[in-house]
């Protein structure tokens, strides 16, 4: 696994080789590897925490913010939780081999559309060493080989975790090359990974906008971005206002730092004066900083609401701040969401089927909610289990990226000597 003597291309070629074999590995063998991995994480906790302590003590980690140091830090509980996550992934149904469609064609050919692994998945990530284990488990279960590329300041933690994963893989008889770890070195390494055409079938960056921009300009392999969420809650004129108050509060406050939290509250003008004073007071009491348009500020009653700038409508705060706007109609609400949203999760509160249908049809987003919080966009809530992230792309995967989204399909066609005339 040492990459010191191997080029990125050589590492990816090993993964490609492994992926060929992994594609036809049984569910049983894959689950055995995951069970062994969960056990090994328990057995080797001491070694893992030692490596992590060395990372945290390293000069490269000294300059990190507290938030980043917290993400980097492991403890016994976190390792236990990693192991539990691996067991949960082992318990999920294997997507590989699923027959998506089956049909006899006019030519008499018998066609099956069968789910198969993608091949080699590259994952680029920052800080959190648990990603090493989470992503390796998801890709193994879906029959893919993985090439991991973490941050240099987490190199020791990632190294020991990858070693543990590779031991589990080897003990279960899965191919060498199933799990590869790059050094996490310079930008050149990242560029080589992003241009390893024919070797890397999908690259998933898990990180901020800087990483996304860095990849966008160089990547020639397919990339799936787990992207930002500028999510809205729209309260229609006929909404149950008590329900709306609870949903708007939950969407903003319950966990403000995640992509499915709401950033903007839109209210129909007909209910703004009745609705806004109470919900804005709730939000203020929770510590949310509020900005709004003129009508929202006027309707806010005693709650102070700052003036929203044009930029506010486009901002994913990822924190305790919310923009509040008043709109004249369902159509205006839809137009606002489509103009400023990122296509992640959008909600309407309404008691009318027509308004619900208008909103769900008109809004261009991965998930559109009627009378529920945007916070439900999540692999576990959707019943597909662990996810690598949420996609706001329209191609291939939209919404939670789970096991199935880490696969493709092939057509398998059986004949009796058919030729085309």
């Amino acid at each position: 696994m040492a990459t010191a003597t191997r080029t990125v291309e050589e590492v990816c070629a090993c993964a490609k080789q492994g992926s060929r074999e992994l594609a036809t590995t049984t569910t049983q063998a894959k689950d055995a590897a995951l069970a062994r991995l969960a056990d090994l994480l328990g057995e080797r906790t001491g070694e893992i925490l030692e490596a992590n302590a060395a990372d945290l003590a390293d000069e490269r980690a000294v300059g990190l913010t507290d938030a980043l140091r917290d993400r980097l830090a492991l403890n016994e509980e976190r390792v236990t939780s990693m192991a539990a996550g691996v067991r949960d992934i082992a318990a999920l149904p294997d997507p590989v081999g699923e027959v998506i469609e089956e049909r006899t064609l006019a030519s008499g050919l018998r066609m099956k559309k069968v789910r198969v692994p993608l091949g080699v998945i590259g994952v680029v990530y920052e800080a959190r060493p648990n990603v090493t284990v989470d992503c390796a488990a998801l890709t193994l279960k879906s029959g893919n080989a993985i090439v991991l590329r973490g941050s240099s300041y987490a190199a020791r933690s990632n190294g020991v975790l990858a070693t543990v994963v590779r031991e589990a893989v080897a003990e279960a008889g899965l191919p060498e090359g199933s799990v590869e770890l790059l050094d996490g070195g310079d930008r050149a390494e990242l560029a080589e990974l992003a241009t390893a055409e024919g070797l890397v079938d999908l690259l998933i960056p898990r990180g901020g906008e800087a990483l996304k921009e860095a990849l966008k300009s160089v990547a020639t392999v397919p990339v799936m971005y787990a992207a930002a969420g500028n999510c809205h809650v729209y309260v229609h004129e006929d909404a149950d206002l008590e329900m709306a108050r609870a949903v708007a509060y939950n969407a903003k406050v319950q966990r403000p730092g995640v992509c499915n939290a709401a950033e903007t509250l839109l209210v129909n003008a007909r209910v703004a004066e009745r609705f806004l004073p109470e919900v804005l007071a709730d939000l203020r009491d929770a510590g949310v900083e509020l900005v709004g348009d003129e009508r929202a500020r006027a309707a806010a009653s005693e709650t102070p609401v700052g003036a929203a700038t044009e930029g506010d409508w486009d901002t994913e705060y990822l924190g305790m701040k919310m923009a509040v706007g008043v709109v004249d109609s369902l159509q205006d609400a839809i137009a606002h969401v489509n103009r400023h949203g990122t296509g992640h999760s959008e909600a309407i509160l309404t008691s009318s089927d027509d308004a619900a249908e208008g909103f769900t049809e008109g809004v261009d987003a991965a998930v559109v909610y009627v009378n529920a919080s945007t916070r439900f966009t999540d692999g576990f809530e959707f019943g597909i289990g662990a996810e690598i992230g949420n996609s706001t792309q329209k191609l291939h995967a939209r919404g939670p990226i789970g096991l199935r989204e880490l696969t493709t399909f092939k057509y398998v066609v059986h004949g009796d000597g058919q030729v085309r005339s």
Copy 2:
């Protein structure tokens, strides 16, 4: 539609606007527009042929090869065939609104995964003016707006065809902006289209490798390449050799200029001497130039077979030439296909279920055939109707790109005030 006074961004913005409305347009209205388009093509044939004649007479068309001039040329029969194609597309089922999955989540939320249009699809094409009509019909039926960008030397033909499409769209009450045509001017226009993020949801280049390379380095919007096919026919040791002879012949000769034609014939060493003399004589008699490895040449008997270079195994001849190789085992055949193939269409001839399974599982391609010609990879043969091309990508679409592949999905989630705890 005149783009002289509009920027590419403005054109794409009009298409985006149109796509919002088109997404909720009824099947009936879309089919009415397509029926009217088919009629109008008949009524306006004279005008269309006149514009085409002017394109052919233009100095820009003088330098074209005979093959390109033939692709550019329209006649009454070709216009009639275009109209028939449009009627066929109207008769296909509408993919929009299909419920892919429906489930009640643990939270009580009622989740539907519903098929929806992508939005705006850009199509970049060369020579053939019929693409203007074919692609507009496919995108309209799938609820997408289209931005067309043809070649400058087909500008008059494309212009009048796009006008006819837009008239049909207007008469059927579909939104302005459903179909837009760019000038087909310089490379800057292409780059602007390929970077119109937020406005273009998918770009489909239909052209040679030069176009693909040009886009690869600049595109920031999602691109789907209808790519090359280096397809193989492998004859296993237990194949029905008469069947294999007919299939190998068909896969090469029936229409050699298309992507699903075979370029390489692989034969198991155990049957090479029995199989090759007859099939190679057939191919030679059909005018196929043959190159092969040493063992194939030795087994060829009286048919002259040139020496294959390493490059031959990677070449999509798209013409009457074929490479012939002898392999020692099924595994060697699979390894050869995975090393040199482009992931398009691959075939095995065998009478054994084990060998068939080994090949279909081991080969990494969009379509894998057992005892049938590779030539069946096609939207019509697959029963999905007209296609925009064949994808060798693994993400989103693999194999024929038909109506369904021009859509995405959204999750529509109904609740009763659910909040996340």
